[in-house]
């Protein structure tokens, strides 16, 4: 997008009103809580501030204005913070609204985590990522709540990306425990707690497996408490109930939606909080558990390691038996439990209300005062994106070798791969340039397995970078999770290379979608494949014509 075509207003301009736009203002969810917190903060700084939404919970009726009224009520002196976490269909409204705009990105769950359970939700997640790219020319800057989310914003090409601290209203957790539920749960059993909606990406089924292992191997007198909306009529809800019956653990409580007092009772009687979620843009219940003095055991996917900040026990292993071992030591070893709780308290100290408000003010000031620099005209990007997830974590693999050879032969290309090693919060992809070849390394959505033959996880940031780029994408390894996603999202312009060492069935979908644009890598002839691919990509107009 050139600056001339940009729809961003030019020139510095301080604003007098800062409003927010959310698709739905809900009572008690993370996005709604952030919007309400931010509105009070903005008002305390002297700005007029309202929350606009297309839908809202009945309890929020007094706090919200209809989104359709925003273009009429806003003017050139208004600023709009657009919260984005799911498909909203509000991009046209944003485009025709006057004033300046910034994006607040809560992250979007990868569609693949809903496959097999919620086809419609999976499609909506993909649409939400398309909307993220559609918002790119409309906003002056973008904010995220974690480095993990910020990386995707940078990959999408959004300007002036910054990471903001998540604002927590700690007083909301001071509700006294509901006595009946508390008495029921405080019966001497070790209670393992999970709080959240029972949706596929939260992997309540993995919580069930880890708890089953814990009860069978270490603590027969234990109970699993799952507090959060669970609809048995959905495929995933039915699956969870069936899995509970099949695994056969005793004392599993699916409480469904709970009141604030009931939630307090759950935390007050919990021995440990367990999260096996595969995707969190931030992960509020983890901090809530820390605040309430419950040791946290969590699987370190997506932004979870950042949210935990070294506190609690974050594991890169999904093995239920290993997770059960962590639950057991937290319960049995008082000294270790004390150390965990102490570290959790120290983690929360950095998230005090005053510190968070100060950081918000610093981060928002350039946008509100209109002192952001105009985005620089980007240099001409490489014409080819070589997508090779294996290059970073498995540099000696056949596909990694092929990626290096093709890049050498092309002379000018961008190579996109996964960042190896332990997940570490970085607000942008690592970029390394050698000659005309740029190598971009992205954080995977889940930790890399120690097993060399295990499938590599997908990376939403990498996929967004490819979809948002005009370059010709070449999937070096059509069998990977990211390649499958890209095959579905940009089928008309993608090329691919399949690994003949893997089963033929793993390339069936790629063969159907790509036809002659799918090449095969024979481990004995990597040079021939690299030469053929480089020739095809270098032909003038050949790659772009398709």
């Amino acid at each position: 997008m050139s600056i001339l075509r940009s729809k961003r207003p030019a020139g510095p301009l301080a604003v007098r009103a800062v409003h927010q736009l959310v698709p739905r203002l809900a009572w008690g969810d993370a996005v709604g809580n952030q919007a309400r917190y931010l509105r009070e903060l903005l008002r305390s700084w002297g700005y007029a501030s309202e929350i606009y939404a297309e839908q809202w919970d009945e309890e929020c009726r007094e706090q919200v204005r209809p989104a359709k009224d925003y273009p009429r009520e806003a003017d050139a002196d208004s600023a709009l913070l657009i919260h984005h976490s799911f498909e909203s269909r509000l991009v046209p409204l944003v485009a025709r609204s006057p004033g300046r705009k910034a994006l607040v990105y809560h992250n979007v769950t990868p569609a693949r985590l809903f496959e097999g359970f919620e086809r419609k939700v999976a499609e909506a997640c993909t649409a939400a990522r398309e909307e993220l790219l559609a918002l790119r020319p409309l906003v002056e800057c973008a904010y995220a709540y974690s480095g993990f989310s910020a990386e995707e914003l940078v990959a999408a090409g959004l300007p002036h990306v910054a990471v903001l601290p998540f604002a927590m209203d700690w007083h909301a957790f001071d509700t006294p425990p509901e006595p009946v539920l508390r008495a029921e749960l405080a019966d001497g059993c070790a209670n393992v707690l999970f709080v959240g909606r029972a949706v596929p990406h939260k992997r309540v089924d993995d919580v069930l497996r880890a708890f089953t292992a814990y009860q069978r191997l270490y603590q027969p007198r234990s109970r699993l408490v799952v507090a959060g909306y669970l609809n048995r009529e959905t495929p995933y809800g039915g699956y969870l109930h069936g899995l509970r019956d099949a695994l056969g653990p005793e004392r599993v409580l699916f409480l469904g939606r709970v009141s604030a007092g009931q939630l307090s009772a759950c935390f007050a009687t919990a021995t440990a909080y367990l999260s096996m979620s595969r995707h969190e843009g931030f992960g509020v219940p983890l901090l809530e558990a820390m605040h309430r003095g419950v040791p946290v055991v969590a699987y370190g996917a997506a932004a979870v390691p950042e949210t935990m900040g070294g506190a609690g026990l974050t594991t890169l292993s999904r093995d239920p038996v290993e997770v059960a071992g962590l639950l057991a030591v937290v319960e049995r070893n008082a000294g270790l439990r004390g150390q965990v709780l102490e570290a959790q308290r120290a983690r929360l100290a950095a998230l005090g209300q005053d510190a968070v408000a100060t950081r918000w003010k610093q981060a928002l000031r350039p946008f509100l005062e209109g002192t952001l620099e105009a985005p620089r005209a980007s240099v001409s990007p490489a014409p080819v994106d070589l997508v090779c997830p294996a290059l970073g974590p498995r540099p000696d693999s056949d596909m990694a070798r092929l990626a290096r050879r093709v890049a050498e032969k092309l002379g000018r290309a961008r190579v996109l791969t996964l960042r190896p090693g332990v997940p570490s919060p970085l607000p942008a992809p690592e970029v390394e340039s050698t000659g005309g070849v740029e190598t971009w390394r992205f954080t995977p959505d889940e930790p890399l397995s120690r097993e060399p033959s295990a499938e590599l996880p997908g990376a939403s940031s990498l996929e967004t970078a490819v979809v948002g780029s005009a370059a010709v994408p070449v999937l070096l390894g059509v069998e990977t999770a990211s390649a499958r996603e890209l095959l579905a999202r940009v089928p008309s312009r993608v090329w691919g290379v399949g690994d003949t060492a893997l089963p033929d069935s793993s390339r069936a979908e790629a063969r159907r979608r790509l036809g002659t644009r799918l090449l095969e890598l024979k481990p004995s002839q990597p040079d021939a494949t690299a030469t053929r691919l480089a020739e095809l990509l270098a032909r003038p107009g050949e790659a772009h014509a398709r």
Partner: protein, 146 residues
């Protein structure tokens, strides 16, 4: 538990891994049986594509637009095709408005069918898991009887 799989500052990953190693080891038989059960409960890979049974209704859900007009009649055919195309061109906005609710209904019913289909798939997988579990229990009981 490998210390390198733990991200924790205090206590150290090594201390946690050492504590896990000190836990009383479960019997190999119990551990093996548990692992078998956990592995069998893992969700099978699913197809990304729409199921064939829903593919045809999905292709036809947008009833506002139809196949291009054709005719087999040798002489009047081209005139009929032209008339049909002209009618479509002129009245497409009205057709869209008349059929808007029908398209919304089609989409909603297709979503419901997809949910039912996925529910049925999940139930089938769960029942298979149950059947396997029951057969294993029966085999164990018969082994004990013998």
């Amino acid at each position: 538990m490998h210390a390198e799989d733990l991200l924790t500052a205090s206590p150290t990953p090594e201390a946690v891994a050492a504590e896990v190693a000190r836990l009383p080891p479960p019997s190999p038989e119990a551990l093996e049986a548990l692992r078998r059960k956990l592995e069998s409960s893992e969700q099978a890979p699913v197809e990304r594509e729409w199921p064939p049974v829903l593919q045809a209704p999905r292709n036809k859900k947008d009833s506002r637009y139809v196949e291009p007009a054709t005719s087999h009649r040798p002489v009047v055919g081209p005139a009929l095709v032209l008339a049909k195309r002209a009618f479509r061109l002129a009245f497409q906005p009205f057709i869209n408005e008349v059929l808007r609710r029908q398209v919304e209904f089609n989409e909603a019913i297709l979503d419901s069918l997809a949910t039912l289909y996925e529910h049925q798939q999940v139930q089938a997988r769960t029942q298979a898991l149950w059947r396997k579990e029951v057969e294993e229990r029966l085999a164990r009981l018969e082994g004990q009887r013998d």
